[in-house]
């Protein structure tokens, strides 16, 4: 909301600057977001009077105007169609800064004397657009006849405008009077309310009928006859413009002026265009339409509250009037509506019609019905002032349930209880009095209470806590001390899930991966791209099986590609990789985000904390020491083999996996304690390509269900004694069938060695003439150690024999000698 400072200071006279006023209001909860200056650029511009007009010798459309501005008297060349002798105008002298009247974007230019068609023009008579007041550039701006000639325009017209953010609770401050009340309370000064006219109620039966009393709480209808429609006076136009509204004509301007001043929207109908000259407030009938003032033909649903005449809607209540009954130059009789409507209904209608107006913004915050009377009486005062000779001939006020001030009782102790500090009684009472709450300090049931009568315009003050806020904000929050909470403390434990996530993140960072955070939403195209070469959806999304039910979907996504809550991290990380591969040769990223698996339609989805890791492109960039090589399956497997034992996942296994999104020969299921917890594999080249990554680049992906890991059970380190005897390494070259997995061979060795084998490490794989075709030789280095003794040669020989036996039985392996 825009509040011109001159207007505000008229209601609350103060020496404070605009900046100081803004500061006080902001601290008290009325945030001033900006202060704009009207006329800050108006150097060298004066109020002038047009003395005479002469034709331009060389151009029909131009004239020579001689303008007197006191100390300056100039002849200017102008093409303004509306210029006339005797007019007061804004005269710009050379050096003045003006907005370019012909530029669409605001553009400042400096005025220089110029020669136009052979005649020298020494200055310029300005349009509103050139002064930065509006986009109007059809003609020059004509000032009010009272404008003092020779005075700098800035002094006459300049102003500062506060732009306030009106939070939903601040309906009482949604007007100049409202802001004035606030400012008055803050600086301890009473408001000088604008003049209002007495209105004797009386009029014909049936002038106004309310058929929907649940949606219309009050209707003040005033008939004004002998109205002469014309432009409103300059001062009013100026204020409307400063507050961001366009002047239309005196009648409409009065209603807008009252709305800005008091916060009470009004609507003026041309009564002669109302069928039977009467008003009915009712819900719209099926199929009814109305063309509103903005020229849009609108269909009205039956929830819409309308202002109708005897036959048809003539306005959408609280939102916008109808075009057909608008005020025109021919209007003689006005029916002025000053009403109060149910806030939720107005809000629904404004939303449904996509029509937010100054009126609806106020009504939907819940206006005080008593304000209607103030609005109507103020409007009539203005009618009488602006249109001499007009007559009020009927006044109806339908207000079946008048709202009375709310009495509130607040224990005196509530202030220190909530604020942690107390203020003297006198100060508290003074503050509440400045707010016009009529406070009274009493003893009731042996305790001190403050009784207040909350003015009806303060609908936001309903409980004791609200009163505490009033006291605190008027005194100022800066008066509160800084303390720390006392009393009982709570043990601060960090949940296993958070600890796990943190450990996973830290380990992966140490392993060279960078954490990304991606939008957790995807689209169907991305999901379909996870299944190469088929029209249907994949049966698995990353780690998770495709749910029976529809995925979790947004009703109103920001963009279509963010419509589905992701069921896997794979598409998110592939997208991130695709972007990064444009700029990097090596990508190593992870995310500890969530996937969202549907449950029942009205149930919240299963949000599973999941780890996704992705390596793509090169593993090492070529440098002095490394050749560059493409990443592959084993790079990421190594990361998992580092990660999972570190976070306490025992008994880690990998088993071949067939997965629609992964390489058929390079994919594995990850098992912990025999339970599947994740997947790992090179991404299928067709999937890679579908995500706009060069399919020749290898992309390796792993997805681990962290919640599942917790369910399976992570284990603390199990200590084994550290031997003080030298460990002994022995090598075993085992010839097995090509198809035998290496893990099984290693398992057989471990089984044979029992507790004495500290580690088994595969260090070579040999295929070639020295061994039979269809076989491979796996070379393991086994480290033996006993906690309590050195191992003797005999013991080692026995171990070797047992290992040999296990190899033979379990994997049909033979030791090479």
């Amino acid at each position: 909301m825009k509040v011109p400072v001159r207007w505000l200071k008229e209601l609350v006279p103060t020496e404070l600057s605009a900046r100081e006023i803004a500061e006080r209001l902001t601290l008290a909860g009325l945030e001033v977001e900006a202060i704009t200056e009207i006329g800050s650029t108006w150097d060298n511009i004066y109020v002038g009077v047009v003395e005479r007009i002469e034709p331009h010798p060389n151009a029909d459309r131009l004239v020579l105007a001689t303008v007197d501005a006191g100390t300056h008297r100039l002849t200017v060349v102008t093409g303004a169609p509306n210029i006339a002798p005797g007019q007061k105008v804004a005269l710009a002298l050379p050096g003045a800064t003006l907005y370019d009247g012909h530029s669409v974007e605001p553009k400042l230019i400096t005025l220089k004397p110029s020669t136009i068609r052979g005649v020298r023009s020494e200055g310029m008579v300005c349009s509103e657009k050139e002064l930065g007041l509006s986009d109007e550039h059809e003609g020059i701006m004509v000032l009010h006849a009272d404008a003092p000639v020779g005075v700098p325009l800035r002094e006459y017209l300049g102003d500062q405008v506060l732009e306030l953010e009106i939070t939903p609770n601040l309906v009482h401050a949604f007007s100049v009077v409202g802001v004035a009340r606030e400012l008055g309370a803050l600086i301890g000064q009473r408001v000088r309310y604008p003049e209002r006219a007495p209105l004797p109620v009386g009029g014909p039966e049936g002038l106004v009928t309310i058929e929907a009393p649940d949606l219309c709480y009050r209707f003040v209808g005033v008939v004004i006859e002998d109205v002469k429609v014309g432009p409103s006076p300059w001062w009013m136009q100026q204020r409307l413009q400063a507050a961001g509204m366009r002047p239309i004509n005196n009648v409409v301007d009065i209603t807008n002026y009252v709305m800005l001043e008091w916060g009470q929207p009004q609507h003026a109908f041309d009564r002669d265009r109302l069928r039977e000259g009467r008003i009915v407030v009712r819900r719209a009938r099926p199929g009814e339409k109305i063309e509103t003032l903005d020229g849009v033909l609108r269909e009205l649903d039956p929830d819409t509250l309308v202002i109708a005449d005897a036959e048809r809607p003539v306005g959408i209540a609280g939102v916008m009037g109808g075009l057909e009954s608008e005020i025109t130059e021919q209007t003689r009789t006005v029916l002025l509506e000053t009403a109060n409507f149910e806030m939720r209904s107005i809000r629904r209608t404004a939303r449904a019609q996509r029509l937010r107006t100054e009126a609806s913004a106020r009504f939907e915050r819940g206006l005080d019905p008593n304000l209607a009377w103030e609005g109507a009486t103020r409007a009539i005062a203005l009618f009488q002032q602006l249109i001499p000779g007009c007559r009020v001939t009927a006044v109806v006020d339908i207000y079946p349930n008048p709202r009375l001030p709310r009495q509130l009782c607040m224990p005196r102790s509530e202030i220190p209880r909530l604020l942690g500090v107390d203020f003297p009684d006198e100060l508290v009472l003074e503050v509440l009095d400045r707010l016009e709450f009529q406070p009274e300090l009493r003893q009731e049931d042996g305790r001190a209470v403050i009784i207040v009568q909350v003015p009806t315009y303060r609908s936001d003050v309903t409980i004791a806590a609200d009163l505490v806020e009033e006291v605190a904000r008027v005194i100022g929050y800066h008066e509160l001390p800084e303390a720390l909470p006392l009393g009982r403390t709570v043990p601060v434990e960090i949940s296993p899930e958070l600890r796990l996530v943190r450990a996973v993140q830290d380990t992966l960072v140490a392993a060279g991966l960078t954490e990304v955070i991606t939008y957790p939403m995807v689209d169907e195209a991305a999901l379909r791209a996870l299944l190469p070469g088929a029209a249907t959806f994949p049966d698995r999304y990353g780690l998770y099986p495709r749910p029976e039910r529809e995925l979790v979907r947004a009703v109103n996504p920001i963009r279509p590609e963010w419509a589905i809550m992701r069921p896997s991290l794979l598409p998110s990380l592939l997208r991130s990789a695709a972007e990064n591969l444009k700029f990097n040769r090596a990508v190593a990223i992870f995310e500890t985000g969530k996937v969202y698996l549907p449950r029942g339609l009205d149930e919240l989805p299963d949000e599973r904390r999941t780890l996704g890791c992705l390596l793509a492109g090169a593993r090492h960039l070529r440098d002095l020491y490394h050749e560059e090589r493409p990443v592959d399956y084993f790079d990421l497997k190594g990361v998992l083999e580092t990660l999972l034992p570190r976070i306490g996942a025992p008994d880690l296994r990998f088993r071949p996996l067939t997965h629609p999104s992964l390489h058929p020969g390079r994919a594995a299921e990850v098992l912990v304690k025999g339970q599947p917890v994740g997947i790992l594999g090179e991404v299928h080249p067709e999937v890679v390509e579908a995500f706009e990554i060069d399919p020749d680049l290898r992309v390796v992906f792993a997805e681990i269900d962290l919640q599942r890991l917790l369910e399976v059970g992570l284990e603390p380190p199990r200590l084994r004694p550290v031997s003080r005897y030298q460990p002994i390494d022995q090598d075993f070259a085992v010839v097995v069938d090509e198809a035998t997995p290496a893990t099984e061979v290693a398992d057989a060795i471990m089984a044979g060695a029992g507790a004495l084998a500290v580690s088994v490490r595969l260090f070579d794989i040999y295929r070639g003439p020295a061994i039979p075709a269809g076989k491979k030789s796996l070379a393991f280095r086994v480290t033996f150690s006993a906690p309590d003794r050195p191992l003797s040669d005999e013991e080692l020989a026995r171990l070797r024999e047992r290992i040999e036996g296990h190899l033979r039985r379990r994997v049909k392996g033979e030791l090479r000698r």
């Binding site: 939903p168 939720r344 942690g420 958070l498 960072v509 947004a554 339609l601």
Partner: protein, 347 residues
């Protein structure tokens, strides 16, 4: 014979001085001190010495042996040291050549900030908890004193989730966890809640539809707004520097009363007024207030007995302020060239 001893001594010492490699030394050692070396020979020749001179002769040979052994040891050390320094000289490198990199990744700046903020509050006695991102309208709005069709609801432009009877939304703030936490436990409550939030909002340099918040909540007997002010001031000083000034001003959120906007003095202009603080000298970093009595009632707490306060802050904004990130969109574009700049062990 003693002349012979002296001759050998002279010769041995001269040769020792000549021996300048480990191999030459070994050879010298064999020649003089070895089993068949010169000194053994000398000792054998004792039989040719007149008996009365024998003790003196023996002593002289033994003395020579000891002397040579000592000299050898000394020389050996010299030679070894000289050989080592030759080797080391030959091994000299250009110390400015690049090292072999230890590949270390990094945490996302938002994760780092969440850790930093929650750690500060953990130390102030707040427990970190998390809640669902897909949330019932009841928890996101109604229980927080934001009824259906209330204009306050417009402040949160919400993304809705397909459902049947119940309203389900992507939480527009972390505040639903206030309700969930209080429903689950009795006072005293002190929690801090980080998490993702979503709004139906056009994306620009300062707005994201997907962002992170950290919520805080303290409820007990005797919890006051002065505590809130002190706690937030302490937090802001730990995060943004001990010299920070703080500002508390009145603001409106439906689930608190009185409501607070919390700001720190602008670190870019030190309060003078600049583009970042829009000329005000203050930077708003969070909203807060005393928990509304209706919210306490909604979870079955007695508002006459308990008071509490809550606050909520945008994580991205904190990172942007602390590190001068110009555009919020950088966080979720996932560009490693941006993210890598936050690869620090200490923030």
């Amino acid at each position: 014979m003693s002349g012979e001893v002296e001759r050998i001594r002279q010769q041995a010492l001269a040769e020792l001085q000549q021996a300048s490699s480990t191999a030459a030394l070994a050879e010298w050692h064999g020649r003089y001190l070895g089993r068949r070396g010169e000194l053994t020979q000398l000792m054998r020749r004792i039989s040719q010495v007149p008996p009365e001179e024998r003790p003196a002769y023996g002593q002289a040979v033994n003395a020579l042996k000891e002397e040579l052994a000592a000299r050898f040891e000394q020389r050996e050390a010299e030679v070894k040291r000289s050989e080592l320094s030759q080797r080391l000289a030959a091994e000299a490198v250009d110390v400015t050549l690049p090292g072999r990199a230890a590949d270390v990744g990094g945490l996302h700046p938002v994760t780092q900030m969440i850790r930093e903020v929650t750690t500060i509050f953990n130390h102030l006695g707040f427990q970190t908890v998390e809640g669902p991102e897909v949330e019932y309208g009841y928890y996101a709005f109604d229980a927080l004193n934001i009824p259906q069709d209330h204009p306050a609801r417009d402040v949160w432009d919400t993304i809705f989730i397909v459902s049947d009877q119940k309203e389900i939304v992507l939480r527009p703030h972390t505040s639903p966890m206030q309700i969930r936490t209080m429903e689950r436990r009795q006072p005293p409550v002190r929690v801090v809640v980080p998490g993702r939030c979503y709004r139906f909002e056009a994306v620009d340099a300062t707005h994201e539809w997907h962002f992170h918040q950290i919520e805080g909540l303290a409820v007990d007997e005797h919890i006051t707004m002065a505590d809130l002010k002190g706690t937030l001031a302490e937090f802001a000083r730990q995060l943004f520097g001990q010299e920070r000034k703080v500002r508390f001003r009145c603001d409106y959120f439906p689930f608190v009363e009185p409501g607070v906007d919390f700001a720190i003095d602008c670190m870019f202009c030190r309060g003078e007024g600049c583009r970042v603080c829009k000329g005000t000298g203050w930077i708003e970093i969070l909203g807060a207030g005393m928990v509304h009595p209706q919210v306490l009632r909604n979870v079955g707490y007695d508002p006459e007995r308990y008071t509490g306060w809550a606050f909520g802050m945008g994580v991205e904004r904190l990172v942007m302020l602390k590190y001068g990130v110009p555009d919020i969109r950088l966080f979720y574009q996932g560009d490693l060239r941006f993210l890598a700049q936050f690869n620090r062990a200490l923030a």
